[in-house]
């Protein structure tokens, strides 16, 4: 086993333990909260995961966990981005299904607005990066 893989296994284990702890936090502490608090906490967690992903990309732990061709995508930043996606999707699900204070058409409009807005924001980001290159 190469030294690179040993580092990768250790880092991967650390991430798995952290993810397990976050799931414990989510299942033990999130359910008794009100829907608005749950949504706010999940959105903030999504922002935290995305920002951590961005930060980790530039550090020495940002590389692939394993030195194997088909597993190069498995790296800390991608895991954080995936966690951010999961958190934001769950937050949107809660907003649609759990919030009873708002009218249904308004919830549909807000949810669609956020979804389409995210797509346009990503497209603009990509375009500006391409221009910069």
């Amino acid at each position: 086993m190469s030294e690179r893989n040993v580092h990768g296994i250790l880092t991967f284990s650390g991430f798995m333990i952290s993810v397990l702890t976050i799931f414990y936090f989510a299942t033990e502490y999130i359910p008794p909260l009100s829907p608005w608090s749950r949504i706010a906490a999940l959105v903030l967690l999504a922002v935290a995961f995305a920002a951590f992903a961005f930060y980790v990309q530039s550090t020495s732990v940002g590389g692939p966990f394993f030195d194997v061709d088909h597993m190069r995508w498995l790296r800390p930043s991608n895991m954080f981005y995936l966690l951010a996606v999961v958190a934001i999707v769950i937050a949107d699900g809660l907003f649609i299904f759990d919030i009873e204070d708002l009218a249904r058409p308004l919830k549909v409009l807000v949810s669609l607005g956020i979804g389409v807005g995210l797509v346009f924001f990503a497209a603009r980001m990509r375009r500006s990066e391409t221009v910069a290159e």
Partner: protein, 161 residues
């Protein structure tokens, strides 16, 4: 964005999530139980802080009231959720001989519900079985919001021996 700035954003966002979860969990409901002594209401316990006259068991507050065989009790529950949401609350009182009362309330933001009741003398002892000389009659008051929020065990009367 600079990587270091992203790190600070991440720390701030994670801290914000923890603060929201913490405040919503801790600052949920406030409940207090009082008993009437000489016409005046006196606090037996309050939650989340216990200010009972005596605490017998941690972490649950337990009040002691020794002057009356069937005391008047008053339970007050207030919804103090920090983000102003409605909470479904269940409040129950039980004595040794069975349930005294039980109600469920839908408490709006900062709404307060008060329940006054008397523990009847008949509730003091189990209906069947020998009487334990060391036994002290008691009433248990529980407050739920999905899960058990707090409960108190109020002892009253003299030991039956």
């Amino acid at each position: 964005m600079e990587p270091r700035a992203a790190l600070w954003v991440a720390i701030a966002a994670a801290g914000g999530a923890i603060v929201i979860v913490g405040t919503d969990t801790v600052l949920g409901l406030e409940a207090k139980l009082e008993t009437r002594v000489d016409g005046n209401w006196e606090l037996v316990w309050s939650a989340p802080e216990s200010t009972g006259r005596q605490s017998y068991a941690e972490p649950y507050p337990m009040g002691y009231y020794g002057g009356c065989a069937h005391p008047d009790l008053r339970l007050t529950v207030q919804n103090k959720k920090p983000f102003g949401e409605t909470v479904d609350v269940g409040a129950f009182a039980e004595s040794t001989s069975g349930r005294l009362w039980g109600e469920t309330w839908e408490l709006g933001a900062y709404e307060t519900r008060v329940k006054e009741f008397t523990v009847p003398a008949s509730a003091a002892y189990p209906e069947a079985g020998p009487k334990d000389p060391a036994y002290r009659p008691q009433a248990q008051i529980r407050v739920y919001a999905d899960e058990l929020v707090t409960w108190s065990c109020v002892m009253f009367g003299e030991a039956s021996g």
